[in-house]
Symmetry: C2
Subunit: 334 residues, 2 copies
């Protein structure tokens, strides 16, 4: 599965996508033949994860151009349809970036657009792979042990989110391929359980030994010495090195610092935002209370219970051992 291009791919002039809302109960592939279908898939999180959204934006332009050809759309209609893709999720910067990367090629015809989109998909996967190798080397050097490393991670940062390889999970996979990985500890990642549903599924596909834990157990598992290093992804990295990532990350960083083990953030260069001076300037998305008061649609609290649902938290740079990107290792903090 991890090398399967079908997490998001292109076949016979259509996008093929793995339906991430159906995992792990069902492995279901969707064929997306129109802009309408693509916008719907993005909004329902069938297609999710920042790098995957970048690829979806690029492939979406190729899709729109093919559709324009079939239906004889004029340029204004085509532009309006492409704009719908760009705006399908207003906060995901990668989606618009993917669209913009291939849009200038429209005048060169459908084949040029398609080739550029496929090249971008390939480049995204390649960047993740370079990041994974660098992160794995960093951890082996930093942990200074001969035995296989036990690595703790949060949320889903694997091929499902990142197209073919992964960021934090890509680091883990590189350790596995060079036989330097012991096991992986996976936080379930409430409220939407991406760790339990997606990361466990990916690790099982790759034959990597792993143990699922509840989010509240993470800091104690670290304190007990059951893990050698924590590796997570990032949604935005401020200019001072503060990191916004899935809610629950900060607790792991506190525990890793207390236990004296490395806390590594793995993210592409595009995640670093020089325009954001520090974590305090990062807007933290509040999602619906129902994601907390119900789990997979089943109520777990009395009706009318109010909830706070921060989608991300901020980990200050001083708790982070290093940030690894496809180009470099950056040490702002610890």
């Amino acid at each position: 599965m991890p090398d399967d291009p079908e997490v998001l791919g292109w076949r016979d002039g259509r996008i093929v996508a793995l339906d991430q809302t159906a995992l792990p109960q069902q492995v279901r592939q969707l064929t997306i033949g129109t802009v309408d279908e693509l916008v719907d898939a993005i909004q329902r999180l069938v297609v999710r994860g920042a790098p995957v959204l970048g690829a979806a934006g690029a492939l979406g332009v190729a899709l729109a151009v093919r559709q324009a050809e079939r239906h004889g759309w004029d340029r204004d209609t085509l532009d309006a349809q492409i704009d719908r893709i760009r705006r399908a999720r207003p906060t995901a910067v990668n989606l618009g970036a993917g669209v913009s990367a291939v849009e200038p090629l429209i005048d060169q015809g459908p084949d040029a657009v398609q080739a550029a989109a496929l090249r971008l998909v390939h480049d995204i996967a390649e960047a993740n792979h370079a990041l994974g190798r660098r992160g794995a080397a960093f951890l082996r050097e930093t942990c200074r042990t001969d035995r296989p490393l036990r690595v703790h991670t949060h949320c889903n940062t694997g091929s499902l989110a990142c197209l073919g390889w992964g960021t934090a999970l890509g680091v883990i996979r590189c350790l596995h391929e060079s036989a330097h990985l012991g096991h992986v500890v996976v936080d379930e990642t409430r409220p939407l359980l991406q760790g339990a549903r997606l990361t466990c599924w990916e690790l099982a596909q790759q034959g990597i030994e792993h143990y699922l834990i509840c989010d509240g157990a993470g800091p104690f598992v670290i304190a007990q010495g059951l893990t050698d290093a924590v590796v997570v992804g990032a949604d935005r990295i401020a200019a001072n090195g503060d990191v916004a990532n899935k809610i629950g990350t900060y607790a792991l960083a506190l525990a890793a610092a207390a236990a004296g083990i490395p806390f590594l953030v793995a993210a592409p260069e595009s995640t670093i935002d020089p325009a954001t001076p520090s974590g305090a300037a990062i807007p933290v998305e509040q999602r619906p209370a129902e994601e907390v008061t119900a789990i997979l649609g089943m109520p777990v609290a009395p009706s009318r219970t109010r909830a706070l649902n921060h989608a991300f938290d901020i980990t200050p740079a001083e708790l982070i051992t290093a940030v690894v990107t496809e180009d470099r290792i950056i040490r702002w903090g610890r």
Copy 2:
């Protein structure tokens, strides 16, 4: 409900217990007539919470003595059955303490055992009330603010866990009754969701404003300044002040220390175990993986996913501002 003695009571020679696994969807009372049924109820968490377990231990001896009388057990058989109650769960010291408190009266006959057990149940409820008042006064003094306090708590430590008043939730209730409480932040407390299911239910019954959050969000909510103090219960307190409590507690203690807000442990004197030198000597119960891989019976991870399920964690004394009991304030740590 909070003052309803039927959270755990004694009727016609049997234990009556509110089935805490059925809340908040159902308010269901169980009658427990044998040691087998009691051990099962304790292990399935029908009966749960450190002080309630103390009462269950005492009432369990009374139950065993009645059963011995009916079935003509010899003393060795009776002792073996009582030992099964004592060992039904390993971490909470209260269960064994409840058993030991009434066991010496066995030679005086069933009525004496029963009277001692009921006295202990009464004393546990009384002690909780004194503890609540002392803890509330401590927080008001420590937080040094005139505005109502916003208090963060974990798991369920209210009347459901504690017979009539509560430990940490008893402190919160005392703040509420004296109009010093703003709102309560409630961790959902995976895997069994005692915070979402039970604490939210109790707070709603008492008309106390509260917000449910996912466990992973707790440390960030504290870092954001959304809470003035953390108050939790305890399942065992070692001689050096290290505290075993529901998994997820340690993360809050790390965050409270980082934010410079008080972290208060509210527990009866009986929770302090002088025989346990430090947290490292406290056995931490491992519960079934299925509590993690499924939520309320619904699978959330791929089948065959392995899980670690520590029921408790250990918070070192240096992260704890104070322990409040029915008799005193103890400062081992911070």
